[in-house]
């Protein structure tokens, strides 16, 4: 597709060019306010805005009449995926995505993508970074849990859904624990509770102690 030759013609004011995005509700707050003010002061512009909204409505209707693809599309996709070579788990990953995933594992009642979640992310990131080292000169991060041969003592924990961010942060700090993996099935997180190895007996005792904490649903030794 090539640019339209007519695009060299005289253009209207920027605020008029923004009308389609204003109608769609995708302008920034500042631009939206600018457009609203212009609409309030210019009847001709307001009339043109009605045309934009008319186009918007019919574009939505047109697209909604297009239907949906058949099941063939999904079958074809997964047949192709099945034919792909087996994928090894990544040795490194995007820490921000990992944190998003981590937060997503909590109950919305506890962390509703709000200020609490943001605060938790900041606190946890600080804690996690202590257990994370920069790999390949800073091009990515690798957690200790994904590094083969790293020693340490681990437990798998599921937090109580009613636990607050502050509760969980305190729990991690009190137990000198670092989250190194998860959430896995059932909302389980893997915590490193010691950089050195521990006997099975000591590890079981530590997990039992954690299970008694109201912040935790249950905890079991992990390897």
């Amino acid at each position: 597709m090539t640019a339209n030759k007519n695009e060299a013609e005289t253009l209207p004011e920027d605020v008029e060019l923004l009308l389609p995005w204003h109608a769609a509700g995708t302008l920034s707050r500042r631009d939206a306010a600018r457009v609203e003010q212009a609409l309030a002061n210019d009847n001709e512009l307001a009339a043109r805005y009605e045309l934009v909204r008319e186009e918007l409505g019919e574009t939505i209707r047109l697209n909604e009449t297009l239907g949906a693809p058949s099941a063939r599309a999904m079958q074809a996709l997964f047949a192709k995926i099945d034919a792909e070579p087996a994928r090894k788990p990544r040795a490194s990953f995007n820490i921000s995505l990992w944190l998003t995933d981590f937060i997503a594992g909590f109950s919305p009642r506890t962390l509703a993508y709000g200020a609490t979640a943001a605060a938790l992310a900041i606190v946890l990131q600080a804690g996690i970074l202590a257990g994370v080292f920069v790999k390949d000169g800073g091009t990515g991060f690798t957690t200790a849990s994904f590094t083969q041969g790293t020693e340490g003592a681990y437990v798998s924990v599921r937090f109580n859904p009613q636990a607050s961010a502050a509760d969980m942060t305190k729990f991690l700090a009190d137990n000198s624990a670092t989250i190194v993996g998860g959430p896995a099935a059932g909302g389980m997180f893997k915590l490193r509770i010691s950089n050195g190895t521990m006997s099975d007996q000591d590890l079981s005792a530590a997990a039992k102690k954690m299970s008694a904490n109201p912040v935790v649903g249950f905890a079991v030794p992990a390897h």
């Binding site: 597709m1 090539t2 640019a3 339209n4 007519n6 695009e7 013609e9 253009l11 209207p12 060019l17 923004l18 389609p20 995005w21 204003h22 109608a23 769609a24 509700g25 995708t26 302008l27 939206a32 009339a47 043109r48 009605e50 045309l51 934009v52 909204r53 008319e54 186009e55 918007l56 409505g57 019919e58 574009t59 939505i60 209707r61 047109l62 697209n63 297009l66 949906a68 693809p69 058949s70 063939r72 599309a73 999904m74 074809a76 996709l77 997964f78 192709k80 995926i81 792909e84 087996a86 994928r87 788990p89 990544r90 990953f93 995007n94 995505l97 990992w98 998003t100 995933d101 997503a104």
Partner: protein
Amino acid sequence: MDLNQTPVCRDQLHESRALSATQATPDEVLIGRIANGDRLAMQVLFARHHVRVFRFVLRLVREEATAEDLISEVFLDVWRQAGKFEGRSQVSTWLLAIARFKALSVLRRKPELELDEETAGAIEDTSDTPDVTLEKKQKADIIRKCLSGLSAEHREIIDLVYYHEKSVEEVAEIVGIPEATVKTRMFYARKKLAELLKAQGIERGWP
């Protein structure tokens, strides 16, 4: 459609947006899981986005079978490239950018799928005069017909802005043009639509 609704109220028309507001797992998280080979995450992402991607592609290539083939290719690319997704844009924006690239590749191979502007401009009911046409059809029907008669370039930008709810910045990223060009291209797409409507007997007083 209620033309008196505010831009914010317009969101209520979109069930998918309502879904996205309550969905359990953000798209970015699904991409992270897909990067690790999680097929279930792939299924969820596909279920969430495939209809919109299909419609975007279908409006470009105008052939359902081709559009269906393309969406499986789009999501296969997601499967393969998920590890490279950096989260700098919305996942839906990334999907549409991949879809657009693939649709344009098909259009280059099958130019007969594209309707040039001259052909688009010629779309009209020649059996009636414009006045009779207005009497026979609803204005809304004619608008939709003219929307379909736009060039691929203009259909694309109108769909991205009005239907896929993409901001100026996101359209620029998907189409690969400067933000200023996005605004002017949208303006000229609307102007072309007005010309097509005029040819159908609908004079809207603009431009």
